[in-house]
């Protein structure tokens, strides 16, 4: 197979995307998948807020409300935020370290398809009318007693999606450890690569507990297990521990790449080297490490006792120190910089105060005695939306505008981008700031409706208006994306003009082999060094141009996951139907057969010839002039 053969037509294009193992295309798939689920989770959020706009509202029933909050949380964390971050990691991180692809392109594809089918499985519950309804934490004392298949969809869907995440994490780790270009030492890696590395290491250690917890839940609900049933000698608290041993690192897995994106944006648009690079790296690693030592702060009110609560409270507050280091480093990066307020920079500037507010309320909850007051109130809702929307979602939007040209070769409209920011940012604060007070005034979280005359009416109304403003902002962004795609005005290597890292040294979008010759890295901000030296080619090659070994595409990852998807339905229905067990066995067998095919059939890849690379180079040069 040669890459010269350009296939066309809808079928061929579709086949190309289904079988791709190219990290840039998988990155785009992750991004689009994440955006799709972001829309779903957003619609759920809008219905939640519309239900709470007035007291005694009956827009949705109490049961449906539980479905909505559960699916909103689960979808946003597992199927929207993580995949979109994975999209950026996939598309950008190999470019930043000067690699041609990730270490395991096949596993990369498998990871994406497991996320896609896992997410699909979870959301098919809406079609069955039996939706997960025990909250995104799905505490066993509640979820074991949920009637119907709702929680089964949760357990199996997340199991499949979680497997994909674990694969992606391992893949990124191996890529960063083994595939850095010559000269790219650890302490020369861009911050986004560093945060990808630490987040991946956290995935490596945090997702196995989730896998175990979900298996326990699956056994308890579908196969007669009793891990969490205290009447049979189990312990319902174990689920909470296992979930949060995963769950707390999970929120750092989300926020660290967000920190990475902002670190890139700040230094590019302040046109300064990132202030305190070494301290930033150290803080990232420290946050990653401490993230594993604080999970019990989600369970202060469970009754762990004062000693355990005190230990976990102190550990929790300790995390504020490295986070503070980061905040000050960002401020000092901007300080005295030649600032360009582009759309990504706007998000970054908005991020600092928003995230600090979320961090401060986090320290408040870290104080165990105060947490007894705040627990299960709207204060908690306000806090975690401040860190996740004010941190992660702003970062995703910033990254979307910042790296859009690199991923798609077109530039998102700046004016529409700024309009999006204003609507979204104002809406965000309008929605969640007032919820702190709602918490103080006693409104519990996860309530379907509330009575009149408690002083909550106006605050809830304001909150809903804010949510609508966020929806308008997001809609403008979707319009922006569609318009930009239709206009299709191609941009050059470095459309922002101030790119500092390697990804901006190659065409947008890059050729499928990324670098004609592996680059030589001579320091932090590789491209900036070349620019300062007036280098014409923007890349110092570390080797002559030779043939490049590339992997073949494969449909097997999708089929492997399809088997697990089918097996999931079998597991769910095996207790009440006769065909359930057969489907379960068929699905697993299907997966094992595809695994066997992958193992037994040698796929040695192909070579991109030197002539073709030189030809491509020539075409790019001619296109530029």
């Amino acid at each position: 197979m040669s890459s010269v053969a350009q296939k066309s037509g809808f079928g061929a294009t579709l086949w190309d995307w289904l079988t791709t193992v190219d990290h840039k295309k998988i990155g785009i798939l992750y991004l689009l998948g994440g955006l799709f689920f972001f829309v779903l989770g957003g619609i759920e959020a809008m219905i939640i807020r519309l239900q709470l706009i007035t007291p005694n509202n009956d827009l949705v029933s109490a049961g449906l409300f539980n479905d909505l909050i559960t699916m909103h949380g689960t979808t946003m964390i597992f199927l929207a935020a993580m995949p979109m971050l994975f999209g950026f990691m996939n598309a950008i991180m190999p470019l930043q370290i000067g690699a041609r692809d990730v270490a395991f392109p096949f596993i990369n594809s498998l990871g994406f398809w497991m996320f896609a089918f896992g997410g699909l499985f979870l959301n098919i519950s809406w079609l069955f009318g039996e939706v997960p309804d025990a909250g995104w934490t799905s505490y066993a004392s509640l979820s074991l007693h949920s009637p119907g298949h709702g929680i089964d969809f949760y357990a199996i869907g997340l199991q499949i999606a979680g497997g994909g995440t674990l694969m992606a994490g391992i893949n990124f780790l191996v890529t960063i450890i083994n595939m850095r270009a010559p000269g790219m030492t650890y302490m020369r890696m861009p911050l986004f690569t560093w945060t990808t590395f630490v987040a991946s290491a956290m995935i490596l250690f945090a997702f196995p507990p989730l896998t175990i917890g979900l298996f326990f839940l699956t056994f308890d609900r579908m196969f007669g297990g009793n891990f969490f049933d205290h009447t049979m000698g189990g312990n319902t608290i174990i689920w909470e521990h296992i979930f949060w041993i995963f769950g707390h690192p999970e929120v750092y897995i989300l926020i660290l790449p967000a920190f990475g994106i902002f670190s890139e944006v700040f230094s590019v648009f302040a046109r300064k080297r990132l202030f305190g690079y070494t301290a930033m790296v150290f803080a990232t690693v420290l946050i990653g490490f401490l993230g594993f030592m604080v999970w019990a702060h989600h369970m202060f009110t469970v009754g762990l006792g004062p000693t355990a609560n005190a230990i976990f409270a102190v550990a929790t507050m300790a995390i504020a120190v490295p986070t503070g280091v980061k905040i000050f480093n960002w401020l000092l990066t901007i300080w005295g910089g030649s600032i360009k307020v582009t759309t990504p920079m706007l998000y970054a500037l908005g991020f600092i105060p928003s995230f600090v507010m979320g961090g401060v309320t986090g320290v408040m909850q870290g104080a165990a005695p105060l947490d007894y007051q705040l627990h299960d109130s709207y204060f908690i809702v306000a806090h975690f939306h401040y860190v996740i929307v004010g941190g992660v979602v702003l970062a995703i939007f910033a990254g979307l505008h910042y790296w859009w040209p690199k991923m798609f070769g077109t530039m998102l409209n700046e004016l529409l981008g700024k309009i999006t920011f204003v609507f979204f940012f104002v809406g965000f604060h309008l929605t969640f700031l007032i919820q702190h007070w709602l918490g103080f005034w006693g409104m519990p979280r996860r309530v379907w409706t509330f009575m009149d005359g408690q002083g909550w009416n106006l605050a809830n109304f304001v909150s809903t208006i804010g949510a609508l403003s966020m929806a308008i902002g997001f809609t403008v962004m979707v319009i922006n994306i569609i318009m930009t795609t239709i206009k299709n005005e191609r941009v050059g290597n470095d459309p922002w003009g101030d790119g500092r890292t390697l990804e901006w040294a190659i065409p947008s979008p890059p050729p499928f082999y990324n670098f004609p010759a592996t680059p030589l890295v001579r320091g932090l901000d590789t491209l900036w060094i070349e620019k300062m030296e007036g280098s014409k080619e923007m890349i110092t090659p570390a080797e002559p141009i030779t043939d490049i070994h590339m992997p073949h595409g494969s449909i097997i990852p999708m089929l492997m996951t399809l088997g697990l998807f089918i097996a999931g339905f079998g597991a769910m229905f095996h207790q009440e139907t006769s065909w359930g067990l057969g489907v379960l066995i068929f699905g697993l067998a299907f997966t094992f057969v595809t695994m066997a095919i992958r193992s037994l059939k040698d796929d040695l890849g192909y070579y991109v010839t030197k002539e073709q690379i030189l030809q491509d180079q020539e075409n790019i040069k001619r296109g530029r002039n």
Partner: protein, 115 residues
Amino acid sequence: MSEVQMIKRSPAEQSLSQRRAKESMRSQVAMFSLMIFLTLVSFSMVFAHLNDVPGFSKFFIIPTLFLFAAVQVGLQLYYFMHMNEKGHGIPQMFMFTGAMLGFLLPLTFVTIVWW
């Protein structure tokens, strides 16, 4: 296809790599004997305890066995699985992090879940 490059070793490189291989072999054999010796000691201790030899109480034997086991794991990792050689820093870091979490998490479970 890309060209396969053959690089000839100079005589100095050849002798260096031979010396290294010899040293590595010597340490492997030495450690292997040490491990067999530790295993023999362990079995003898338990045998002595079962035959009521004075001084071999189980409060002495069990901690000693654990100590020997830890030494054996270390030798296994560092000599037979070559973790003492260059370029194993990252795997070591991940293994020790995993081992630490694998120790700390169950520790918290036995102290605060089943307290």
